[in-house]
Assembly symmetry: C2
Homo-oligomer: 351 residues x 2
Amino acid sequence: MSFEQNVRQVIPYVPGEQPIGKGIIKLNTNECPYPPAPGVEKASKLFQTDLLRLYPDPTIGELSQALADYYQVKKEQVFVGVGSDDVIAMAFMTFFNSDKPILFPQITYSFYDVWANLFRIPYKTLPLDENLRIKMEDYLIPNGGIIIANPNAPTGQFESVSDLEKIIAANPDVVVIIDEAYVDFGGESCIPLLSKYDNLLVVQTFSKSRSMAGMRIGYGIGNEKLIQYLQDVKYSFNSYTLNRQSIELGVEAVKDDVYFKETLQKVIQTREWVKKELQDLGFQFPDSKANFIFATHPSYSAKDLFEALKKEHIYVRHFNKPGIDQYLRISIGTDEEMNVLLEFIRKYCKG
Amino acid sequence: MSFEQNVRQVIPYVPGEQPIGKGIIKLNTNECPYPPAPGVEKASKLFQTDLLRLYPDPTIGELSQALADYYQVKKEQVFVGVGSDDVIAMAFMTFFNSDKPILFPQITYSFYDVWANLFRIPYKTLPLDENLRIKMEDYLIPNGGIIIANPNAPTGQFESVSDLEKIIAANPDVVVIIDEAYVDFGGESCIPLLSKYDNLLVVQTFSKSRSMAGMRIGYGIGNEKLIQYLQDVKYSFNSYTLNRQSIELGVEAVKDDVYFKETLQKVIQTREWVKKELQDLGFQFPDSKANFIFATHPSYSAKDLFEALKKEHIYVRHFNKPGIDQYLRISIGTDEEMNVLLEFIRKYCKG
C-alpha cells in the first residue's frame, strides 16, 4: 500500500478482555458489581426513541449542570466526554504541546504513554518507591505537563491531597491532570484545590463508582478558561459526542446520591474483607483505596495463577510488564463472587 | 494563566443551532423528519440497564457485522465511530501526515478545515465551478490526501462515481476519503470501488437517512489494512467509544431495510415537490441529491429571509461565508413542515 508512508502508526492500548457468557466472574476491568441507580432504569424505559432523529445537545448542558451542582462548581468548569479516556485524550491534545517531556509514574494507567505516543508528546516516566508510592519530589523538574492517577492504577495507592498540592503549586506553567477514576472508593478529591490553582484538571468517570461503564461518560473539572480551551478542541474534533441516552441517564445517576453512597459502602466493605482474607493466604499488596486489589504472593507465579483462574472462568488482570508482572489486579465484585475467587485461591495455595 | 503557551488554540466548528421548544420547525441541521425504524424503539424498551455496569464491546462487533452484511464487505473492512465526524477526525489523524497539503473543495462541509487546523495538517481548497460542481481535474496535483463530500455539502450536488474514480485512481499514494453522509437520498455509493482501490475510505452516517442523529453512529468502509490502521489510532485514543445502546439500537436500524427505503422515498418525494415550488417562486439551486436544498433568490437577501423565518420559529441554515452567503440550506422536513415554510416564503415574496 503506497499510502503507508503518511500513516500515523501506533501501538494501541489493549483493554482488558470482555468475555461473554454465563457463569463468568469478571474481576478484570474494575467495573462495579452493582447496577446503576434505579432512576437510570426508569429513564431508559421512558426514553423517547422518536427524539433520536434529532442531534443531542452538543453542550451536554443538563449533565454538565447536574455535575456542577453536585461538585459545587460552575457549569462552565465542567467538561463531559465519552468516558474519562476521551476527556484525557482531549486534554493531552489541548494542553501537552511543549518540547519538554510530560511526567507520569513508571507504573500507572497504561494508557498515558499510548496517548503521548499518539500525539507525539515527549514524556518521561518516574519510578515509584519500594512501597509503590509516588515520589513527590521527582515532579519538580522542568516539564511540559503532569498526569497522576490518584488512587494510582493498578496499585490502588492513594496519595494525600496536600502532597499533590505541592506538585500543582510548583508547576504553574503547565497543566497538571489528576485522574481520579477511583477516588470515590475511599480517597479524597483534589476538586477543592481548584479555587487556588488554575492549572489543575481533575478527571473522574461514571464507569466505576457510578456503575455505568457501558454508557461511556467521563468528565473533567477545572478553571473556566482551561475548560474553554478543552471545549474548543472538542468542538474541533466532534461537536456531538454524548448521545441522548447518555445525557438523560447520566443525569439520573448523579441525582441519586443515597444509592451512590450505599453502593460505594458495599464495595469498600467487600474490599476490606477480601484484603484480610488475601493477607491470611500470604498475599502482599498496597493498601488499596480503589475498587481493586493489586496483589502479589511470594510463593506463586502471578501469571500461573491468572491462567488457573481463567480456566475456572474467573477473570482478573495480569500485566506482562517488568516490575509488576508478579502482581494480579483483582476488581472487587459482590461478596458471592469474591467468595468463589477466595475458595479457588485457598485450594490453589494448598494444592 | 501561565500554561497558555502550550495550549493548542483552535477556532472550533460551530454546529447548527439546536433550538428547543414546541412549534419549532427545524430545517437547519439536515435531520430526518421521521423516527428511527420501529425495531429501535422496541430494543430501547427492552434494553437491560443492569448491563450498563459493564463496558461495551470495544470492537463494536455486532454493529460492524450488521453493516458488513448490509454492504457485502468483510467485518474487518468496517470502522464504527461516534458519528461520522468522529470517523473523519480519526481518519485525518491516521492518514493525513504528509508535508504536502490535503485537498478539498472550497465550498464543502465546513468541518474539514477545522480538522486540518486542529491536527496542523497543511491544506489547499479548490474552487467549485460556476455551477457549484467539483472540478475533477484540479485534484491531480501533488497532495497529502483528499476528502470529498458526495453529495457535496451544502450544495447537495452529486458527482458520478466514475468521475470520483478518476481521482482515486490518480492518487494511489494518499488516502482519498469520500464522505457520503447524504448518499442515500438519491446518490450512488463509491463502496463498489473498494474492490479496486486500497486507498479509498468511504464514510457514512446514521444521522441523516437512518434518523439517528441523537444516537451518534457513523462508519467508514475501506480496505482491511487501511481500517486496521484506523482501529489502531482509535484504540490509542479511546478504546470504548460506542455505548451499549448505540450498538444494540444501531443493529436494529440496519436490520429494517424496508422501513429504511420507505423513509428515503418519502424524503425524496418531498424534496422533489419542494424543488418545484421553490422554482416557481424564483429560487435557484443545484439539483440536490441530498436531504436539503441549497437555494438562492435573485431578489431577496438570504440573510434577511433567514432572520424572517427564524422569527416564525422556522430554522434553516445560513452560512456567513463569501461565495455562499446569498444561499440558504433548507433541510427536507415532513410535507406539513415544508408547507408552512413555503406558505411563509410565498407571503414574504409577495410582501
